[in-house]
Symmetry: C2
């Protein structure tokens, strides 16, 4: 079998981004970590870590890290059923590495999973990405589960519907007055600055296409930050699509107004995770589906 002391060192370097921090986490000297990774590289015959600030895995290194994480998960599962084994394991707490979209983390995800994770002693390792791109993280095997817009199961995974996040196009009242007092048409949308999260964020473009039946090139702010995005809309810098549940209080207080009331965009979210049956990963999925029902709309989209 593989030498897991070496794999553990590799995984620690990649996770912590440096040999020094990996050494701290493993409670050995940096030179011991360095020797283990070098030895593994000699055995495998490939460079596994690109040394730098931070250190990152090469393609070969990433494959080995993923394998190591899966084995660690299986060990944690084993430890859960056998207390004597748990004592022999370095870490008795399993880490769940999941890809989640920014708006889910900003609105419901943490509250939905906190109780379960506290109870089971699970540690969370979140990878944040756009909801249309989290499934990619499942495909490349770098996470054990993902909250995604992709309904169709990634190979080797199963998919469950969680519910719907509703997005509204909003801006400040002063912004509305300045740009949209004569209506929300093509010309107004061409002049009014729009807030986009990042180049992957297609929500604003989808809204514009639905309203105008055309593509409109607006001046763009780029704000890859959930709270910053909302502040940008509230402070009159631009208009943008925000999750209804996040902005409900601001709409109620009149700090934000809708561009076109009643014209929401719905995003369907799914949970995908490995079909490899690991007891608590299955339990996590079951719990997530049940809890999501409290936080997400369950009807079908508009």
């Amino acid at each position: 079998m593989l030498d897991y002391a070496l794999l553990d060192a590799l995984a620690a370097v990649v996770r912590h981004g440096s040999f020094d921090r990996a050494a701290g986490a493993l409670n050995v000297t940096p030179s011991a970590v360095s020797q283990r990774v070098k030895l593994l590289e000699e055995r495998v015959g490939a460079v596994l870590v690109k040394r730098g600030q931070p250190c990152v895995a090469t393609a070969a290194g990433a494959l080995l890290c993923r394998h190591t994480e899966r084995v660690q998960l299986l060990e944690a599962e084993l430890g859960g059923g056998m207390p004597t084994v748990a004592g022999a394991l370095d870490a008795s707490r399993p880490t769940l590495r999941v890809a989640v979209n920014d708006d889910s983390v900003g609105t419901w995800f943490i509250d939905a999973v906190a109780g379960f994770c506290v109870e089971r002693g699970i540690l969370l390792d979140l990878v944040i990405d756009d909801q249309d791109h989290t499934a990619q993280r499942m495909r490349d095997g770098s996470v054990q589960g993902a909250v995604t817009t992709q309904a169709e199961p990634v190979q080797g995974c199963r998919s469950t519907r969680l519910g719907r996040m509703r997005y509204l196009a909003v801006c400040s009242p002063a912004f509305f007055e300045r740009y949209f007092s004569a209506g929300v048409g093509r010309e107004a949308l061409r002049r009014a600055p729009c807030v986009e999260f990042n180049p992957k964020d297609q929500l604003q473009k989808r809204f514009v296409r639905r309203i105008t039946r055309a593509q409109v090139d607006a001046p763009l702010h780029w704000i890859p930050h959930v709270a910053g995005f909302l502040r940008c809309c509230m402070s009159g810098l631009g208009w943008g699509m925000c999750p209804e549940r996040m902005i409900a209080p601001h709409l109620a207080r009149g700090e934000l107004v809708e561009l076109t009331p009643g014209r929401a965009l719905d995003v369907e979210l799914y949970w995908q995770s490995w079909r490899l049956s690991i007891g608590w990963l299955d339990d996590f999925g079951t719990m997530l589906k049940r809890r999501a029902a409290e936080f997400l709309d369950q009807g079908r989209g508009a």
Copy 2:
């Protein structure tokens, strides 16, 4: 001189991440964009864009994009003083590309700059990174300014102190009861799960070193998301360092408690920007320093 129609196409592809979206933004066909980039690559004798999802600049491409952005900035500056020139420019609104740390965007940055940007018609393009790493974005020239912990000016830049963000170590009352009822010592910190933003985030480790005079390896949650990080602390998943201004209401309501009252960590923030004098970039810096005084503590750190 260089052919700026070609450079404009290159910059659009890199900014939008795809030839199709760049074509939309430039109002030409995708094949026109593709031809322009290819022609530029032939003239320069190097590949400038790595084709993919998204398309990214090669090192040579990044240099040309940065140059193009600087010229666009200078054009915007020129247009501000000459309305007839402004009319001839594609974009009469300058875009300010700045690197800002996550917690600043989550707490004060947008509110501080919104008024100025609305008044001058400036578009924001934020690059989010850890406060200890934003200066790197200045060094590699990919942003025009940065909110950073580095006081010493990056070459070709000037540096101004903005003020201090104060961080408190906090957790939920139930979490405190479970892990710290007998005191916040080494053993308790080794058992209590800790929330870290990402491997660059050193605040929790600095706090532990200060309290225990030792390095302690705690179970870690990784939550690279400002709101998610806070929700993790509030829901009892772990303890973490949060900006005092962000959590003041939660402390007041007793939803969060301090691990060690009176033992804050202070982070000094600086504004660094190009010394190349561009009128409104200088004005932005002056405004930012003035406005920061309303949002950040101005005394020297603890």
